[in-house]
């Protein structure tokens, strides 16, 4: 299997040599080796050379935590920078076949699935999920990863099963048990549990819609209607409930209700699939796409949050208030040198 995947790569000679070199360095820990690799990377600025360093690392330490990161880098560089989608899939396959630890295999498998979907030839996600489940029960985040991948690949039955499992983690006791080192306030836990419940139901409903079980989907959405206002400061929902619910309303022939649910995701956060659905709802209501742009702007203005005025110091120690921007368009950028 491994030999075969390597054979698929165009530059096999280089890889085999680097791969062997990596094996010989195994005395040092994966963490130290990854640091060395990072130092080497700092001296390079071409993706062709960078990708080889990451690949060498994955081959030398296939079961390390760092290798999951490195595989992500390989996939990114090959697919986005080197225009080599097939090479990205092929290397993800190689990494997956090299790893032994079930958790690592799962993490590789998820990445392999994602890139194989992009390449139009998805690997079997159920095999990847079942393999970890045979070792131990999946946790919330792992179920979520399967659900998100199943959605990308259009594997709706699998998406439904794992989103239903996510629901079992939506209680305070389980949430606290997942973060034993943190001492969260009751408020924080309550919010997180709501979010878990919302995610689980949103994905279940979405899968049901795709399986043409729209009535059941509607019942699931109605069951968490209390969570449809869960949004951040700018009014973008914290969970994908409204955008899936909106899509279902659209299918059910209620475009106005659909538009109401879809607007924040579609307009404030630039969720392109929600924007497509919002446009479809507009057309269903008005019989034409004409006027959609000005409609979208008007809706955006009506749902937009007016920013709170705060005053902070600049680096000369002078206080600056947002109110002093009066009448200007501005970008507020949150950053840290981290």
């Amino acid at each position: 299997m491994r030999r075969h995947s390597v054979g698929l790569a165009v530059f096999l000679g280089v890889l085999v040599v680097l791969g062997c070199g990596g094996q010989a360095d195994k005395q040092i820990s994966a963490g130290a080796a990854y640091e060395q690799a990072q130092e080497k990377l700092d001296t390079l600025d071409n993706p062709q050379e960078e990708v080889l360093i990451f690949e060498e690392f994955v081959r030398a330490y296939p079961d390390s935590e760092e290798a999951i990161d490195a595989l992500g880098a390989v996939i990114y560089l090959r697919s986005k920078k080197l225009d080599d989608l097939d090479g990205a899939v092929s290397f993800a396959q190689t990494a997956w076949s090299m790893a032994i630890d079930p958790k690592t295999r799962f993490e590789y498998g998820v990445r392999l699935h994602e890139i194989s979907v992009e390449a139009g030839n998805p690997v079997d996600l159920r095999v990847i999920a079942d393999e970890l489940a045979a070792d131990r029960p999946l946790d919330f985040v792992e179920h979520l990863a399967v659900v998100e991948e199943a959605e990308k690949g259009g594997e709706w039955e699998l998406m439904l099963e794992h989103s239903a499992s996510m629901g079992q983690f939506a209680n305070a006791e389980t949430f606290r048990a997942d973060y034993p080192d943190d001492d969260f306030s009751d408020e924080r836990v309550d919010f997180s549990v709501k979010r878990r419940r919302g995610w689980a139901s949103a994905y279940q409903g979405a899968a049901l819609v795709h399986l043409d079980r729209v009535d059941e989907a509607m019942a699931v959405f109605e069951g968490v209607a209390d969570l449809s206002t869960l949004s951040n400061y700018v009014g973008v929902p914290e969970i994908p409930l409204n955008r899936y619910w909106g899509k279902a309303e659209l299918i059910q022939g209620r475009p106005e209700r659909a538009a109401e649910l879809l607007a924040p995701d579609a307009l404030m956060g630039r969720d392109d699939s929600a924007l497509d659905d919002l446009r479809a709802a507009y057309i269903a209501t008005n019989g034409t796409e004409e006027g959609f742009e000005s409609y979208a702007l008007a809706v955006r203005q009506s749902i937009a949050t007016v920013i709170d005025d705060v005053t902070l110091d600049n680096y000369s120690g002078d206080p600056v208030s947002l109110a002093s921007m009066g009448g200007k368009v501005f970008v507020m950028a949150f950053w840290n040198p981290g």
Partner: protein, 102 residues
Amino acid sequence: MELPRLQTIWEKYRNQGFEVIAIESNRETERAVKFIEEAKLGFTCLENGEDESEVVEGVFQVWGYPSSFIVDRQGRIMYYHLGFDEGDEKVIEEEVLSLLEG
């Protein structure tokens, strides 16, 4: 990195009633100042407050970096952007331009 790209947009539209306000969330003053000087950022750079005056999480509920809000002349947050990928500066510029013209 987002800020140097915002500098480019700022230079282009600053005379048309456009501003950039960068808020450094961690109060890493020394590193922030070094970055601002090296990148020659000319727009407004502010430092998050301490304790009671902390605003990034407390007021704006921002936990991911970089994130940005685009605010219109009426003070409405018309666009929210989390993360920064190559090409995002074009999206931001388009939004800014449409608000300046609107």
